[in-house]
């Protein structure tokens, strides 16, 4: 098994919990091979998201992707933002440790 460092993007997406399933569909559609999901709490445009009920719970997704996939993903998110969904997202450059453990690169 070999392992190398590969440049890519880490995209973080914070959305309301009711948007979770839809976001997973979007990730799948644009070719994201995996994601990490966390429960998130905070405050902002939609008020305090304390996790008291589903309507005020946020989730945060972290995905590691190539620059090309990151672009397509961000464009898909912009479509939703135009429709009014409050989505917070940002991307940063990362060096990802890639292994061929599963027979193919994992991002």
């Amino acid at each position: 098994m070999s392992a190398t460092m590969c440049p890519g993007k880490s995209v973080h997406i914070i959305v309301n919990a009711t948007f979770e399933n839809e976001l997973i569909r979007v990730l799948d559609k644009v070719g994201v091979t995996g994601y990490t999901q966390l429960d998130a709490r905070g405050n902002g445009y939609s008020g305090v998201q304390g996790g008291y009920s589903e309507g005020e719970s946020n989730v945060m997704f972290i995905v590691l992707v190539t620059t090309e996939v990151a672009k397509i993903l961000i464009e898909s998110l912009i479509d939703y933002i135009k429709r009014g969904y409050p989505i917070v997202s940002y991307a940063c450059d990362v060096d990802v440790l890639i292994t061929n453990k599963y027979g193919k690169p994992t991002i």
Partner: protein
């Protein structure tokens, strides 16, 4: 009577929760606990209502259901019209907020039940059926109003309105957890044998008021948390959070007494249903169905303004209103 209604343990625990938040206490419920307690309360009130269903008048039950639907459709339309006066609130915010006020709050209803129990006033089980019925129509009205606003906005800017996917939204309106538990418990309470039900009574009845206190303690914490963001919401909306329950409650009193012929207790519970605003079932549907609306408005209003208003002022006020209106 006014002071008595505030001196029941459930209301006092609500005040304690608000006080704890006010003095920045570290009092906090374990995650998910309130949700569990909420399910218990719905189950208990459902079983109780189901048990009472065995000797209801079928005709009146049907009328109650029909009136439940009418009120569920009418109240959000009134709310929307009030919010849109002078064009201060945009259509999407108005549609989402109106849906919350047409729907019901089980916690307010249960506090009203506690008030009647302490006062020794009897009530019919029809309002419990109406609570189940009144969850969904307002959600649909809110979604339709938002879809119309979307169409109008798109027409004004010469674009094609984004298509609304109705089926998942309707599914959410009719299958949300609280409706399922409440409706299921009603049916179970109605069909189970009285002997078997008697065994469940200690769980559903004897400890009910104590559990309600615990629930309201957390509600006090949450309501105070929400009330701290009132500034962000603005005076017009806060005023709506007080005016709308007065309008809804008055309609409930009239329908309960004049159209359905309920007793004082029953008409009072219907008034409370009409005055209350949902804060658990409706927000997720609106977040997904009307993403254009600012969630902080409806979350703050229903839990931070209307719930405390109903518990402290609405309950004694509507009770007096029913007594006076019945005597006319």
């Amino acid at each position: 009577m006014e002071l008595d209604s505030l001196l029941i343990p459930a209301v006092l625990f609500f005040a304690l929760g608000a006080f704890a938040k006010f003095i920045n206490s570290d009092l906090k419920f374990p995650e998910g606990m309130t949700k569990g307690i909420g399910l218990y309360l719905l189950m208990a009130i459902g079983l109780e209502g189901g048990l009472a269903l065995s000797d209801v008048d079928f005709g009146l039950a049907v009328s109650s259901i029909i009136w439940g639907v009418i009120l569920g459709l009418l109240l959000p339309l009134i709310g929307y019209a009030l919010l849109r006066i002078r064009n201060k609130i945009n259509s999407f915010d108005a549609a989402a907020i109106a849906a919350h006020y047409g729907s019901v709050s089980a916690a307010t209803f249960l506090t009203a039940v506690a008030f009647l129990d302490v006062s020794g006033v009897e009530y019919e089980s029809y309002p419990i059926i109406m609570m189940v019925i009144m969850e969904a129509p307002a959600i649909i009205v809110g979604l339709v109003l938002a879809a119309l606003a979307r169409k109008k906005l798109a027409a004004a800017s010469g674009e094609v309105a984004p298509k609304t996917e109705w089926s998942p939204l309707f599914k959410e309106a009719f299958t949300n957890g609280s409706v399922i538990v409440l409706l299921g418990a009603l049916v179970i309470g109605a069909v189970a044998t009285p002997d078997a039900m008697a065994k469940v009574t200690p769980f559903t009845n004897d400890i009910f008021m104590g559990v309600l206190c615990l629930f309201l303690l957390d509600m006090g914490l949450e309501a105070a948390k929400k009330a701290s963001t009132l500034k962000k919401v603005g005076g017009v909306l806060v005023a709506f959070g007080v005016v709308m329950p007065l309008v809804g409650g008055t309609i409930g009193v009239v329908v309960g007494v004049s159209f359905l012929g309920f007793s004082v207790g029953g008409a009072f519970l219907l008034a409370i249903l009409c005055a209350s605003a949902s804060y658990i079932a409706v927000p997720p549907v609106m977040r997904h169905g009307v993403p254009e609306a600012n969630a902080s408005y409806y979350l703050t209003l229903s839990l931070g303004v209307t719930f405390p208003f109903n518990v402290v002022i609405g309950i004694p006020l509507f009770y007096q209103m029913v007594i006076m209106y019945s005597a006319l």
